[in-house]
Symmetry: C2
Subunit: 108 residues, 2 copies
DNA sequence: AATAATACCTTGTAAAACAAGGTACCTTGT
DNA sequence: ACAAGGTACCTTGTTTTACAAGGTATTATT
């Protein structure tokens, strides 16, 4: 296997999911958090440090838009680099999934 | 989804794999570590605290056997409780896998 | 005016994977 | 006899990071 995949898994699975969501269209953290909460039980407090990290890594850019109700939303947009990162992480995820599947084997 | 699945994922994926390995037969930490290193890149330093934890949780018991070469091996054996934990964790893993797959969706 | 929903963010805590090191046993080569 | 290397155990310190809990501000609803 590649190298440090659990790190990639631990650090990467949420990041990958956020990247995947953004690949379908720009979105703001509060909504991303809600979707991730429903899907995999992520808490809201997790999203903001994560988005900050992703922005620092150049995976996303941001812009502000007013909301119909409530404070302005900070939308996140995938960069080219982010799209590439998504592809790479999907490959890693699939490899990890396969490795686990292999260990689980016939137990299923 | 259930409740705190990332916690279960983070804390659980390695534990699940070790349980799965042990379900095929007793084994000792050094060998488990080697298999896990090959499969998912786990480091040796990770296995001993993990096995300790699993023993404290009652998932495994241990016994010593001499080795043909080198120091005696501490074998780990799955308990009934460990087997049940394995089943539960597999169910959680499959649910998590499905959730991620759903988020990845058509990107694949 | 007060409440609730939206939406942003920060801080402190806890878990745990890892790297790096350390101990000790046994075999093999010289 | 001795050194080197593989086996196998374990510990410590660092870093990462998800989370809970809280805090702020805006707008709509009552």
């Amino acid at each position: 296997m590649t190298e440090s995949l659990q790190i990639q898994l631990k650090k990467g699975v949420l990041e990958m999911c956020v990247l995947a969501l953004l690949s379908r269209g720009d979105n703001y953290a509060y909504d991303i958090a809600a979707r991730m909460a429903e899907a995999v039980g992520m808490g809201e407090g997790t999203i903001y440090p994560l988005m900050r990290r992703m922005q620092n890594e150049g995976l996303v850019t941001t812009y502000l838009r007013e909301s119909s109700g409530g404070p302005p939303r900070k939308y996140y947009k995938l960069t080219k680099s982010g799209a590439l990162a998504l592809e790479a992480q999907i490959r890693e995820w699939l490899a990890f999934e396969a490795a686990v599947q292999k260990i689980l084997g016939d137990i299923k």
